[in-house]
Amino acid sequence: MREWWSKICRALHLQNGLENELSDEIEAHLDLLAADNMERGMPPEEARAAARRAFGNMTRTHENAREAWQFPRFETVLADIRYGLRGIRKSAGFSVVVILTLALGIGANTAIFSVVYAVLLRPLPYPNGERLVWLGESTSNEPGISVTWINFEHWRQESDSFLNMAAFATTDLTLTGRGDAVLTHAGLVTSSFFELTGAKPVLGRLFTEADDTLGAAPTAVVTADFWQRNLGGDANVVGQTLRLNGRSYEIIGMLRPGLRFFSRPLDFYLPIGPSRVTSLKRSDHGSMRALGLLKPGATLAQARTNLDAIMQRLALSDPGPEDDHRAYATYLTEETTGEIRPTLLVLMSAVGLVLLIACANVASLLLVRSTGRAREIAVRVAIGASRGRLARQLLTENLVIAAIGGALGLLVASWCLRTLVLLGPVDIPRLSEATLDLPVLTFAVITSIVVGLLAGLAPVFTAGKVDLTVALKEGSAASGTGRRGQALRSTLVITETALTFILAFASALLVRSLIAAQTSNPGFEPQHLLALELQLPESRYKSDENIRQYYGQLSASLRAEPGIEQVGLVMCPPGAGDCGDWWYSILERPTPARSDVPMTLFNIVDGAYFGAARMRVLAGRSFSDADRVGGSPVTVINEQLARQSWPDPQLALGQHLKVGGPYTEGPTLEIVGVVANVSQMGLDAEPMPTFYYPFSQKPSSAMVVMIRTNGDPAQWTSAARRHVSAIDRNVPIQSLRTSEDWLGATLKRRRFATLLLGLFGALALVLVSVGIYGVINYWVSARQREIAIRLALGATRSTILRWAAFDATRLAAMGIVLGAIGAWGASRWLKSLVFGVTEHSPLMLLIAAATVLAVAALAASLPLWRAMHTDAVQNLHEA
């Protein structure tokens, strides 16, 4: 305490006084020593010199004594920072390169980390979000299918791993009675859903169990968005009614904005209890899933075992076709981010590699600089600076540089992040929430410090080992050519080259995959095709006949429009993904075991669709007018489904497909045709087995009208709208876009990942070229005299070039070999992102090698040219 107080006083006023007094005291000390020496008979001069020798290291005595009265760390750190800043100003060119390198590396990392944090790491915005579990059922080959109501009820009542459980589903309903008919999106939930998600009302109240029972009066809770947009922001909405699909629902409350549990925005919530179809069987599947809140301390594995036990009990007490079903449970965080996780992790690792390259680059630059400073350091050691002190100062200098780089990096990051959020596909959950918040800033700060230390280590290691006599005797230019420094620099360049190779390879793979996906044959002609998505309001189109009639009329009127060549109907257009899947079996084939029943997508199309989409019919026929209600039920299957059972599509004709498989009810359809596969799940997805119902036999109120035009399909959008509203203005248009847009949208994530990885690859190439340039340039500078002597002794320019280039080539070759090994290992992680090419593609390895080699050659060419054109005479004269 007392020491501190006196330190503060001295630090404030007395430092100079103390400093002078200490000098005086040491001077007096020397006088006394010298006087003793003279008494022993030494001449005065010699006595004085002997006194100095006997006293020892005066500078260190000074410094140590000073540290006793200063706050040593703080003050020397300030001094080091000042010194570092001076150094940065003095070598501006060098500093700019280092700082920019760091800013790019740290900036890119921070931006990607903020995305990773927002999407994968940030806790879910629900109370106890980390204990929320996504629940579904699993068959032996299909995990996570929907839960049936009865199973859910049993889970909720009998499970002892969960505090609370909620069920949810979504549905589309047509809102009428408030202007034009609109298609609305509803969440169907149990009353417990709001408890689990922590949702609160702004107006009115939320559901209670009473609202959630069968036979309760229909109620609705609206979202703030819907209230603003469709209800005019009326403060008295509670008590009003909404007419949905012809039924009246009383609005009982409005939610506080911010609940984003479902990936698409919802208009309102309805209790799931009364709206569900009365389900008597355990196998009545809809699209319902469940959410459970684990008891504190309960593990996911316990919960699974617990629910499975209930399922096994039920199989005994209430046997049915799905007795082999088990419970599916994963944490909500994993369920919602599972798909994007590998992509983000690949991007994070890639950008981490970029940072490592930046580090290696900076380390190598600092090394060049510090060997250039070897003389300075030697002088400082000679006048008494201790090793620790020197190392501390070099580290501080590097940290100052890293701090400036980090600060600039934050600017880079904020800019990158804005671009990322704009470019990123909207279906990445919570991407828009990525900001430079506290955890991200912490990440940036820690990264900067680690980078500063990491990049700074190399010069510090060599600084500790300065050989005084050598460094002082050698000229400063030659003093850095020590074998040690050169070896370290070479290692750094090899590492950099290897890392760059990995990135180049990964980028090449992804670009190749994107090209493969974009040019992959979608199985139909998406050009000149307009897709008009409709949903007929159930209240107005109650019977199948109404629906058939409406679509018939619309198709006919569209066909009459000039420029429209063909019009077909499809429930689920290519690129729209999975609109429904179910078990199936082939009657004429051996009956599969209960656990081996295969699954297939199903779709509904009219007779004109295959023609309008230009899908090839491989065998049999398309649907025709003969396939009508009451007639024999028929189906057309795709090639993929046909290949599962028959070697030749022709053989499928006349055979029978049993919908639902042997153990579930469903119609039996005669196969009348086989069509080519289309990119149903996306351009970069494997084809899935699919069968088509004829629209005439199984009409659906939600269909997409595919319009084949003879020019840019966008020109017909207003015509399409006109025809729709001319027939019935109460039919809402869900979407109206080109077929190419539907397909293109499936590649959004791939484009995003490819673009980023490509950018990182390019960044790595730039960095590595700077690194190679630096090292070769240094090599040439250090050997300028040697080159001049060789030239003077008769070496030709090409000998010099060969000699100098040998070093560069050796480094690049070793880097590429190491990189190829690394890339081979890393390609495993890329597998999920690769399409249309093997992840070990030798061609891509070759392209990556060629690129890295070309960049290395380019970077080395300037210093090599300098080496070749060394002016021997001038150089030797100067020496």
Partner: protein, 116 residues
């Protein structure tokens, strides 16, 4: 590592011992830094070699703790030197430290060279 101590080499100060020895050297009469180092070397029969790089910081620490004070004075030979003197507080510390170190030394001796 050599296992036998080289008696030609000076002993190094153990942590905290230099301060006590400085206090002891000032017990009877004030002295200057050079005098202190001479006193310690002579009293220890040149087993201790005082390094000025340690002596000066130690003096600074003692000054800060107010265990000693300093004053510029003339030496008997008429030269100027900075003299250090024990404060009453420092004297009390010396008594305490002395008995502690004596106990320590005896204990060390008992352990290292037990009487047979």
């Amino acid at each position: 590592m050599s296992t036998v101590d080289d008696p030609r080499k000076a002993l190094e100060f153990l942590q905290g011992t230099l301060e006590v020895l400085i206090l002891r050297s000032l017990q009877t009469t004030p002295n200057h830094a050079y005098g202190i180092s001479q006193f310690l070397e002579q009293q220890s029969e040149y087993e201790f070699l005082v390094d000025n790089g340690s002596l000066y910081p130690a003096l600074q620490r003692l000054l800060q703790r107010r265990w000693i004070t300093s004053q510029w004075k003339k030496t008997p030979n008429g030269r100027r030197a900075k003299y250090y003197r024990l404060t009453p507080f420092g004297r009390a510390q010396l008594v305490a430290a002395k008995s502690k170190w004596m106990r320590f030394v005896e204990a060390m001796a008992r352990v290292l060279a037990p009487e047979r």
